[in-house]
Each structure stands twice: as structure tokens, then as C-alpha cells.
Amino acid sequence: MENTRTPWKSYLAMTQTDLPVMKPFQLAPAKPVGEVCLDILSQRRLCLCLLAVLLAWISVDAAIAQSSGGSRPSALETILRWTPLIFFGPSGEVGGFLLNILVSFMAMAIGTFLGLWLGIGQISLIDPVRKASWLVTQIFRNSPWLVLLFFFMLLLPYEVEILGKRYEVPGWAKATFALSLPVMANVSEIVRGAIASLPTGQWESAESLAFSRRQTIWSIILPQCVKRMLPPWMNWYCILTMSTPLISILGVNDSMALTQNVMAAEDRSEILIPLYLWLMSWFFLYSYPIAVLTRRLERRFAVKQ
């Protein structure tokens, strides 16, 4: 925090509005990972505390295992033994944490593709198209994700017939489709918002250069929107990834379902907390760097228009 006060005129330049009463509203620029790590590491007492807790847990854990006469493995051993299963899934099928990531990739790809068209539909000059796109966007934006999952998991057919041959539709494929719908609606809003935020001059100059409306959208408007759309799009990717464990409720063998199976099989209360924390740390390690990158891009793109 420096003490120099920003002169009034630069506020005017920053806000670019007719009434420069406030600074632009921006969500907190998060500290980069390295800085947060350093912050925590520089707290020597906090680090020592965490280390002490971890060591205490390991030693208590080992002591309990000892006192049971070596008949039961310690909690740490148990967790490490099950880790490959929870991460890769049962051998020979898609599952585990990798399935969470796979579902998030595919749902994002489908959702982005559909959402792009829906977003363009929202600025269509044809009245019914515009209204229908708006309605579809609002419906899927305002539905809870779990409700959509239930709806499409239970009402889509569990097998399809193609050319006289029956194919079973795997649960995760239906789940992927169901998860891609809210992504579609939110991408649609991102596209619409980004297009609306471009200066009208862009449209007018394209018109004066005799571009057709289709040409204007695809080669002038959308390329400029990519920069504005990227940070919120990445943010939605994180939200989607954090929602993938919901598919375990519908019986898909993702990391959450497998973790619960492990807990039921072991039936030991002392592994509950470490095992949940272990699972959460994977999601954290996957999502946190993306979140930091998003915030950095946001700050970089926010400066110049």
C-alpha cells in the first residue's frame, strides 16, 4: 500500500464513464501460487504446527497399528494401498479420478460447442431464434446441476439400436451429456456478454467495408471476443470439474464413488478424515493452478481494451 494518492484525472481515465465516482469493480486478484506458498512457508510457526500434526498423526497411527498386534495395517498404509484404485479406477474400465478429468474435458468440449451456437443465436436478427435461444439459455442456467443429472440419467435410454445392433449407453456418457448442458447455457451467456461489450464502431466499420453480417461475426467480432471470453470460460471449467463428483450419486464409478466403496470395505472410522482430505487435495492440486492462471489472464486483459 503506497501512500501516493491517484490524481482525480486518472480516475476519469480508468473508469471511462461519464460520472467517475468509483474505481472499476474487479474480483480479488489472487496471489500467484508461488507467493502463497512462500507466504505460508514464511510462517515458520504455522509450518512447524502442520508438520507436527502430520508427524503426530503418523506416529499415533503407527502406534495404534502396533497395539492391535500387527493384525491390522495402519491408516496410512491402508490409504496408500487403495490410492491406485481411486486414481485409475478398477482395472479394465474407465473410472476413478481419471474419469472425473475425462468427463470434465468432454462436457466442456460439448458445452462450448453448443454454447457458442446458442450465444450467437441470442443476438440473431430473427425474432423466434433469438427468443428461443434466450429461453434455452435461461432454463439451463437456472437449473441445479444435480437435477439435470437425474433428469438425463434416468430418462435417456440405457441402450441404443444402431443398424440392428444393440449398444449399451455407459452411465458416464449420459452424465457427460447432462453436465455439458449447464456449461452450454453459461458459455452462451459468456458469448453474448462478450459480443455486447465490443464497441459498436466495430460493427459499423465492418459494415462500411461491405462485410456481410456472417462475415462480420466470424472474422471481426468473434476473434476479438476470444480474449474477453477466455477467463470466464476457464472459471467455468473449474466449476465443472468441481461438479463432476456429483455423477457418483447416479452410480458412476468416479473417484468419489470408489472412495465411498473403500470406506465401506474398510469400515474404520480413523481413515475417514485422512482419506477425504487426500481426495480433496487431488481436486485442489488440479483446480488451483487453473484458478490462478485465470486470475492472471483476467488482470492482463482488463488493462487494455
Partner: protein, 244 residues
């Protein structure tokens, strides 16, 4: 009567909406909707309180407090809410009841749903409030100082009202998301709309009809909230700030 019409609809057309003519099904369905409403309300209030506290602690003089608040925010933002709710309901509850020597858990599923969802949404609220407070320019505060306001008065009459109006759109987005997230409480058997709908369609075997009823109910609930919040947002918008 209208109820008779729904019975007729079930008998002749096979569209079986038991909740409109069967007292028992109707009773539990609307109790479920009511549970969703008060679960959402309590979580909204608690998450706003947590957000205010978090935003305030982020300004703390002590580095360790700031570090802990930041750790809390990043932890809840970057882990799946479903795993969080399981963690609280199964792991933390077992640990605490073991420790305190109470058998059968200290809080029911409703209590843990409230705690877990409030912490989840509170982490987002803390960042939103902090950003709002930081958006109030120094010059406005200086003007208030030059008019003889004390620090507490500046906070109460200048900073907070402006910050609130600026962060309202982001706050609304998060609160609407919170209402949608209350469906996750299904996983720990809180009898909210999704859970009771599931019970009804298991008992009555009217999956398709109940599915549409449930979806429509959520759309109405969330849609009403979106509409009210949007109106409110528009009416107290700071003029000349932000895009259109």
C-alpha cells in the same frame, strides 16, 4: 374439484401426478419444497455473515490471520462441494461425536448441510465483499474526511453503502448458485425437494411426471429469486459505473 381432475388425468391419460390428489404425497412434496426454501434462507444469511467476517479478517494486521483466511477461501473454492458435504457429515461428525463421547452424531444431516453449504458459499462471498470495499476510491473517503466524518462514520455512511451496491451483482450470482447447490444435500438425505421427489417416484413409479414437476419447481424457485434480485440490482445501481 381440481384434485378430481388430476385423478381423472391419472386414470384416463396415465399422467400420474399423485402430489395433487394424494394427501400423503402432496404433504411430503410441499414439505420438501419448504425445506429447500428454509435451508436456502439460513445458508444465505450464514454465508453472508461468514463473507463479512472473512473480508474483515483479510484486512488483519497479522499475517498469519490473513494466511489462514486465504487458505480457507482457496480450500473451499477449489474442492468439490459434494466431497465437502460428505466430509462434514461422515468424517467430522464421527470425529467430534467420538471426541465428545456422544453416540449417534452431534448434528443431523440438516445441520451439517447448513454448515457445509454456508462455508462453501461464504468463501466466495468473502472475496466478493473484499473486492467491493476495494472498489471505493480513496478520493471519496478523503472527501468524507474533509467533511469531518470519523473513521467509523466513513465506514458506515460511505464505504459500506457504496461497496454493497457495487458488489451486489456478483453477490446475487453467488447466492443463486447457493440455492442451486442445496440439491447436493440430497446426498446426505436431507428431505429437500429433490430427495422427496425421488421418494415419491420410487413409491408411485411415476418417474417421468415427478421429474418434470421437480425440474419446474426448481426453475420457479430459482427464477423468482433471479427476477427479484435483478430488479433490486437495477434499482440501486450506482449511476455512471460499469458497462451499461
Amino acid at each position: 374439484m381440481v384434485w378430481e381432475w388430476f385423478r381423472w388425468l391419472a386414470e384416463t391419460k396415465g399422467i400420474n401426478l399423485t402430489i395433487f390428489y394424494d394427501d400423503w404425497d402432496g404433504g411430503r412434496f410441499f414439505a420438501g419444497v419448504w425445506t429447500t426454501i428454509h435451508l436456502s434462507t439460513i445458508c444465505i444469511i450464514l454465508s453472508i455473515l461468514i463473507g463479512i467476517l472473512g473480508a474483515w479478517l483479510q484486512k488483519s494486521r497479522f499475517r498469519i490471520v490473513r494466511g489462514l483466511v486465504q487458505a480457507y477461501i482457496q480450500f473451499f473454492r477449489n474442492t468439490p462441494p459434494l466431497v465437502q458435504i460428505y466430509f462434514f457429515y461422515f468424517a467430522v461428525d464421527a470425529l467430534l461425536s467420538d471426541y465428545m463421547g456422544i453416540s449417534g452424531g452431534i448434528l443431523g444431516s440438516y445441520g451439517w448441510a447448513v454448515i457445509s453449504l454456508s462455508f462453501f458459499a461464504g468463501a466466495f462471498n468473502a472475496e466478493i465483499f473484499r473486492a467491493g470495499i476495494e472498489a471505493v476510491p480513496e478520493s471519496t473517503i478523503e472527501s468524507a474526511e474533509s467533511l469531518g466524518y470519523t473513521n467509523a462514520q466513513i465506514y458506515r455512511y460511505v464505504t459500506l453503502p457504496l461497496a454493497f451496491r457495487v458488489c451486489l451483482p456478483a453477490l446475487n450470482g453467488n447466492l443463486i448458485n447457493l440455492v442451486k447447490s442445496t440439491t447436493i444435500a440430497y446426498a446426505i438425505a436431507v428431505p429437500e425437494t429433490l430427495y422427496v421427489s425421488n421418494q415419491i417416484w420410487s413409491d408411485e413409479l411415476n418417474v417421468t411426471e415427478m421429474m418434470y414437476v421437480m425440474w419446474l419447481t426448481y426453475l420457479l424457485l430459482v427464477g423468482a429469486l433471479v427476477w427479484v434480485m435483478h430488479r433490486w440490482e437495477k434499482s440501486i445501481r450506482v449511476p455512471g459505473f460499469g458497462r451499461r
